[in-house]
Symmetry: C2
Subunit: 296 residues, 2 copies
């Protein structure tokens, strides 16, 4: 693993030690990925799995508008081929770690008779603007999103670019009220954001940026689902969902300061709940249709 | 989850935010536990599993002589009964978190068709004395250990007390050269310590503190293994193994400053490798016999 200026003690001791000089706060997030749920190891290169395991956590740091600092990785490897899988996972993580100047601080390697499990914990640092919360949206705020949505199962869920730089740039230049990353699904995560902010949200259906993959998936499934259904419900888009004032939204949309497009897809309202509207039509309930872990 | 003075943003947002005011460094460690390897969920209360998952990480912080700060927990829960298991895990963690003033900062909850997986990441803070490393043992240093060893599978591996306070007290009052916690086995972890320090170690066989459980296990197995074999090889004792100068060892042994006994069990030598000796007998190789993750 590469050196890193903040890594006082790297892998090989009982724990890693990271320099916190100049940092008032530490942002912490963890995401655990499992075979058959978050990826199919039989069908993908372990490097893509390693990359995804790191990227989903980077996406969480992006959603807080925080800078990546360090990662620790814990794995449960299948005994059959475990060593090769471990090498692949790390090889998939390293380019992303380098890109985001992330210290790979260490981890825990286990073997077992079960499927592959990868747990990544990321530490981040806040900028002078502080954290971007889920709870700051106000009625009247516009809903802005980066990129496009739907059909990520066809590939984007493994190879997406976490919106770290985009979030930091927007947070620095504009007054963002609230933000979340779309991991569980546009509708589900928008509902989370609205709920945490104590308000509701209306999605303007025709304004939702639909990815080509959403159309491909709808065509392939041929189950009556529309591309928009997939954009609203599929999940794992890992795009930003933001709340900004109408004036700030206008500025951002005029500037288009990112390499990826930003679009306004509706607004927050005082009434709780998630709603949708087509054109100037009546407001109707929108049932969040994203990913939820289910128990029997 | 309880509040904590360092927790600026707790569970419920995309990440937690922890105040680092007054801290120059952050110690980070992760341990992932799996059903059938680290515990048998069918046979134990999930609370003991949760407690162990936190305690093994606290033991790593102890081995660095660092103060616990915060924990994040990621779980893969079996769909069958997952919700009750999750509650049990947290209930098992909370008393230990309170005891060590640990902020429960959040986590990631997943369900799947596999066995229970619990991954805990702990953050800690160094004291003014800095970290206790594995690499500081010098030839001539005495090997000190806390508590007794062997047979932990009979219960201690779930209910042990991590030696956090003991390590902090010793590190503050005495000049410790190196330290590690005995998780993989006394012989294996002592070999790690010696190797990281670039020296060897000789264990004085009659000086090793053997736990009653080691004797019980040897009797139960009746496979020719002795209680000492179990003390040297079983693992999961989570006691401290320390390197200190002969003079400092004498002081510590005379003071016995802990609630748990400290014993000298040998010394470090210039020649690499792990050795054993009975009384004044000849030095013979000691093959580390602890836990290693195996791949096929």
């Amino acid at each position: 693993l590469p050196q890193h200026p903040r890594l006082r003690i790297g892998p090989g001791d009982d724990a890693a030690v990271l320099s916190m000089t100049g940092l008032d706060d530490c942002v912490v997030t963890v995401d655990l990925l499992t075979d058959h749920v978050d990826f199919e190891l039989a069908e993908v290169d372990p490097r893509r799995v390693g990359r995804k395991a790191l990227a989903v956590n980077l996406s969480d740091l992006a959603a807080m508008a925080s800078r990546p600092l360090a990662a620790v990785v814990a794995v449960a490897l299948p005994r059959q081929g475990g060593q090769e899988i471990a090498v692949g996972l790390v090889e998939g993580m390293l380019p992303l770690a380098e890109k985001y100047q992330l210290a790979m601080a260490g981890g825990d390697t286990n073997s077992w008779d079960g499927p592959l499990v990868v747990s990544v914990t990321l530490l981040g640092a806040l900028t002078a603007r502080g954290p971007l919360r889920r709870s700051g949206a106000r009625p009247g705020d516009r809903i802005l999103v980066s990129g496009s949505f739907g059909g990520s199962i066809l590939g984007k869920h493994l190879d997406f670019e976490p919106r770290v730089r985009e979030a930091l740039l927007l947070h620095e230049r504009y007054d963002l009220h609230a933000g979340i990353d779309a991991s569980d699904g546009l509708s589900t995560d928008l509902a989370h954001l609205a709920e945490e902010s104590g308000c509701g949200a209306v999605v303007q259906r025709e304004a939702v940026p639909i990815s080509p993959a959403a159309g491909q998936l709808a065509a392939r499934l041929a189950d009556g689902s529309t591309p928009l259904d997939h954009a609203l419900g599929d999940g794992e888009d890992f795009e930003l969902i933001l709340a900004v004032s109408p004036g700030e939204a206008e500025k951002i949309l005029a500037d288009q300061p990112l390499g990826v497009p930003l679009a306004a897809i509706g607004q927050f309202i005082p009434e709780p709940g998630l709603w949708q509207r087509q054109g100037d039509g009546p407001r109707q309930p929108l049932v969040p249709s994203g990913w939820e872990h289910r128990f029997r």
